[in-house]
Amino acid sequence: MKLENKEFGFDSFASEMAKLKNEKHFDYLVTVVGEDFGVEEGLGCIYILENTNTHERCSVKQLAKKVGEESVIPSVYQLWNDADLLEREVYDFYGIKFLGHPDMRRLYLRNDFKGYPLRKDYDMDPKKNMYTTEDDVEVDTTTEWNLNNEGELVQTQHALFTDDNFVVNIGPQHPSTHGVLRLQTVLDGETVTKIYPHLGYIHRGIEKLCEQFTYPQTLALTDRMNYLSAMMHRHALVGVIEEGMGIELSERILYIRTIMDELQRIDNHLLYTSCCAQDLGALTAFLYGMRDREHVLNVMEETTGGRLIQNYYRIGGLQADIDPNFVSNVKELCKYLRPMVQEYLDVFGDNVITHQRFCNVGVMDEKDCISYGVTGPAGRASGWKNDVRKNHPYAMYDKVDFEQITLTHGDSMDRYYCHIQEIYQSLNIIEQLIDNIPEGEFYIKQKPIIKVPEGQWYFSVEGASGEFGAYLDSRGDKTAYRLKFRPMGLTLVGAMDKMLRGQKIADLVTTGAALDFVIPDIDR
């Protein structure tokens, strides 16, 4: 989608955004992109919004206002709940202070980090931020910024904890956070009263790196963001670049990309169902899933050469043509997998203990899911039709016949069932396409140096656990001026506090498992 930004001006911004949400029904805040627009315009944000009824998208550009040395923008925290973490991310990288946001702490970087790394005038001198062996500074208070009547910036401190709080760190090293996620959990006995997520333990500054790499170089980074949706992540990146360059792809490329995306989705969902079992202590069911995932990986490996890091898509097509045995292998796989999925249900999903553990745990209704930006199967479990493949079709998804799975309860059980049923849908898609892969080019030859014309684009795909988007601002160069990814997991983690308040600590593990997030994808 080429962005045509609305601009409201600083004073009317808050009221216009409220109008967009309340009157025009743009109730899903897809992402907030912080950007340094250059010397003249300064810092600012681009808000991408979606109307969940018509699936129409629009974008709003808001430049920050200078108050002394500081740049400020009114917060939209009150309108969209997922703005909480998204605005903190912008604050972390650009130092834009959001007025009225109650929790302006850094999100990814350490509290003792100096400067704001994604600003264009950021000094990259390593001496400015030396590698430290000290522990990070733990802050117990958070700051809210506001403008007073004289137009000066004033701060209010909020305490994070009270004296009698029992605080347990779930993570960063913990078997059930599936990576280095740290959830600072306030407990009352076994009951969760508040969760503060701490992110960035595997932050690699991928967006900053992308501003220095040429376009083909950036591709390698997406696979490393989420090895369980490596194909989809790269699909979003090549998608946004191809859209910017206006490349027409051959049918063969689209077919293969669709099949590969779905194979990857099956791979992810198999691991998901396994990990759900493992987090509930059913190790046997875990290994059943791992056993079948091997078959999926084998099929992909024959063509791509990779099992976790696939490196298969590139700008203008694919890295290589499909393996001669690919078609027959995929067909065999589909035949093999269908009965196996039922086996997971027999051994784990339909077990009475699983129901006890999953039902009414981590519940979130449709309205909250939209507000918190809980996309993917987790949101569809509460009835929100958010499948990017249906709403904003790409590749072959508008030509294949598949069902968007939506359930009603919005609890962990429905999230689990949603994943299970999506495996069947993915198999359906693959079976429709696999016999008809047309002849043609697998790669449309590009110039040796790839340049994208000036403009801003946003392209999103349906990742394994939610919408994964890539925002590209090009100034006509061979590198991106700004490349921003919308991770799938960030909004999911942001919603955990709301989902889990008042539930047991064991439910935290269950909900985390049922939400399906991958930490490198959140941290980038």
Binding site: L280, A282, T284
Partner: protein, 363 residues
């Protein structure tokens, strides 16, 4: 059937008459020998059980388990024991050192203590008091204290949570465990373990047959409660490796951890052993009232009967562990206080009525 008391009597006479030792020395030597035998059996059984668990769970999970060390992986556990023995034991900063070092011993004492009550063969009971069953439940309760102070003394928040869970769970399930045992006592009219087994010899005299419906129910409740008492899945809440890393023994290394590991497997064996003793006839062979068949069955030593039945129950418990997901703490307590506890009381009443009216099965 071979009576092991022949051996013990011979040994006693050897010391007293042949060697002419005084009563004090004879008893001392006998105690040392028996103690060594218990510890040796304890260690060997632990190795067997750990190996069995690995193989059983491997085959449940479409794996083959350890195969590298020794034939079919048989020496793997020995290698692990060796590793555990030479590992450094270190304490956490600010841990309550006394409680921290004391806890593993309490757990192992409870485990060895209950282990000593098992009737291995006719005439081969080690501890055989007239309040045997009662004493078994009393000694097994010491384990709760061990679990609790381990978590409390470790200076670790996960461990504290786990200690709370462990204590709550084990104290709760002890109730229905005890009540099930009492229903067996009603049937046999004795608390002495040798007496309970003796009452089950003869055709169709195992308590599970003798006491029919209430006894079968009591056996099932006993298995569930015993599984919870041994802290094994689906009741391994205190350990809950996906929630609380390793729970109360997170901060232990070397043999400190080794003791918990040993105790976990032996508690499994003890629970299975007591279930066997009380409901499945202990060392009593399967007799069906046909003389020829019974004679052959009686020819098989009691030790084989006892171990065979016990390992069958152990396998059943492993099967359960490797199939079910873990419950949540409130669900576990609900299961005990709302279902198992009333059920075991009903069983107790049923059993009393059956015994009072003579509605038990006697061949």
């Amino acid at each position: 059937m071979f009576d092991f008391s022949i051996v013990t009597k011979w040994f006693d006479e050897l010391l007293r008459v042949t060697c002419g030792l005084s009563n004090f020395w004879a008893v001392l030597i006998e105690c040392v020998v028996v103690g060594l035998a218990i510890l040796l059996a304890y260690a060997l059984l632990a190795i067997v059980l750990i190996f069995m668990e690995r193989k059983v769970c491997a085959y449940f999970q479409c794996r083959i388990g350890p195969v590298r060390v020794g034939w079919w992986g048989t020496l793997q556990v020995l290698a692990d024991v060796l590793k555990m023995l030479i590992k450094e034991i270190f304490a956490v900063d600010k841990a309550d050192k006394l409680l921290y070092y004391l806890a593993p011993f309490l757990v192992i004492i409870a485990s060895v203590g209950t282990f000593s009550f098992l009737p291995w063969n006719k005439g081969a009971h080690i501890l055989d008091f007239n309040v045997g069953i009662f004493l078994v439940t009393a000694i097994s309760s010491i384990g709760v204290v061990g679990v609790f102070i381990a978590g409390w003394g470790s200076n670790n928040k996960y461990s504290v949570l786990s200690a709370m869970r462990g204590a709550v769970q084990m104290i709760s399930y002890e109730l229905s465990l005890g009540v099930c045992l009492i229903s067996a006592v009603i049937l046999t009219q004795t608390m002495q373990i040798s007496g309970i087994v003796e009452a089950q010899t003869g055709p169709w005299q195992w308590l599970i047959v003798q006491g029919h419906i209430p006894a079968i129910l009591a056996f099932l409740v006993f298995c569930i409660a015993g599984n919870a008492e041994a802290n094994r899945g689906p009741f391994d809440l205190a350990e809950a490796e996906s929630e609380l890393t390793a729970g109360y023994h997170t901060e232990y290394s070397g043999m400190g951890f080794g003791f918990y590991y040993l105790a976990e497997y032996l508690n499994l064996f003890v629970v299975a052993g007591i279930a066997t003793t009380v409901f499945l006839g202990g060392w009593a062979p399967l007799n069906i009232g046909l003389d020829g068949f019974d004679a052959i069955m009686n020819y098989i030593p009691g030790l084989v009967w006892f171990l065979g039945k016990t390992f069958a129950v152990v396998f059943l418990l492993m099967w359960i562990k490797w199939t079910f997901p873990r419950l949540r703490i409130d669900q576990i307590l609900k299961l005990e206080w709302k279902y198992l506890m009333p059920l075991s009381l009903v069983i107790l009443v049923l059993m009393t009525v059956c015994v009072a009216f003579g509605w038990t099965i006697h061949y």
